[in-house]
Symmetry: C2
């Protein structure tokens, strides 16, 4: 696949245009024709690079996942030990999407709900990130010389993932405000057992 022809690199340009559209006006406004227009190319040009609208969407998701992985890896690498790496990963798993809720809505969908966790007032009321989590968790076990059954390990791993993912989801689509402070408490509580 030559990268240089009439346009230069239309494939990448279309992905970037798609991301721009999503960030500026949400996934609902993403269309092949608009992405093509941004690239100053006819409305059928994308079909030389993507079989489908869906293939463009998948390519965009892959790109966002790469950006996500960069932030997660950086968080892990900046940590002194595996335990703090796990907590940092959780922080950034949530923070990455909280910073751009439209990314989460695009990656994992959309639904706006309102809920309050505050109890002191009366309100009504083949996925690389997982691979990284798994590796970091195994390092953590080795570091602490913890002896757990396979079942225990699997359960704990799934629980860590579900917590991070659920927290990100809730933070993006609900009125719940999260903070690093909370995330720290949640993820370190999950490990201290």
């Amino acid at each position: 696949m030559s990268d240089n022809y009439h346009h230069g690199n239309l494939r990448k340009a279309l992905i970037d245009a798609g991301i721009r559209i999503i960030n500026e006006s949400g996934e609902a406004n993403l269309s092949l024709r608009k992405a093509a227009a941004i690239c100053k190319v006819s409305h059928s040009a994308p079909y030389a690079h993507f079989k489908d609208k869906n293939e463009l969407i998948e390519a965009i998701k892959a790109t966002v996942t790469e950006q996500f992985m960069e932030e997660l890896s950086a968080a892990v690498n900046a940590s002194s030990d595996a335990e703090s790496a796990l907590v940092n990963m959780g922080r950034h798993y949530v923070a990455f999407f909280v910073r751009r809720p439209d990314y989460f809505r695009f990656m994992f969908g959309s639904l706006n709900i309102t809920a309050h966790i505050r109890l002191d007032k009366n309100y009504e009321n083949d996925y690389p990130p997982f691979t990284l989590l798994k590796e970091t968790y195994l390092e953590y076990l080795a570091e602490k010389h913890l002896d757990k059954s396979v079942e225990e390990k699997e359960t704990e791993l799934l629980r860590l993932w579900a917590s991070a993912h659920g927290l990100a989801s809730i933070a993006c689509m609900s009125g719940v405000e999260t903070s690093f402070e909370w995330e720290d408490r949640i993820f370190s509580d999950l490990l201290l057992r």
Copy 2:
């Protein structure tokens, strides 16, 4: 809003048609015109009941949320004490959506990922449900005479919600198979501290 006119109750019929379409061919195939056709009504008739396609979607979401609440409430009511009610609620929070992944994809979005938690093999690799959770959790605290700070309670509550929601999300969109056994372990582990 009279319930009886030409059609009978077009509003409800459109919601039901929408749910049917989603269950049969996914959200992508949901269109106002198809829903109208199922109800044997012209393509513009829906506009007498919904301002928008989006308003129909919101109405469908509200209906699904009601069904969801019925299952959660039943789970809570069938439990002997608040602790088992919490675990049961978690089980059904996940099970409701695992039974119909298209519902979850519709309610909270879509992305298919593949991941494996098994460690013994070498794979590559103003929301009513929350209100119910909150009430059940407070009952649990009272029942056990647990003395926790407000912060601790808030953290634990958020952690419970995030775990259930994240587990449901992961179960619906990834290759991870979940089971009541696992959910039990996860939710009871979360409480036993």
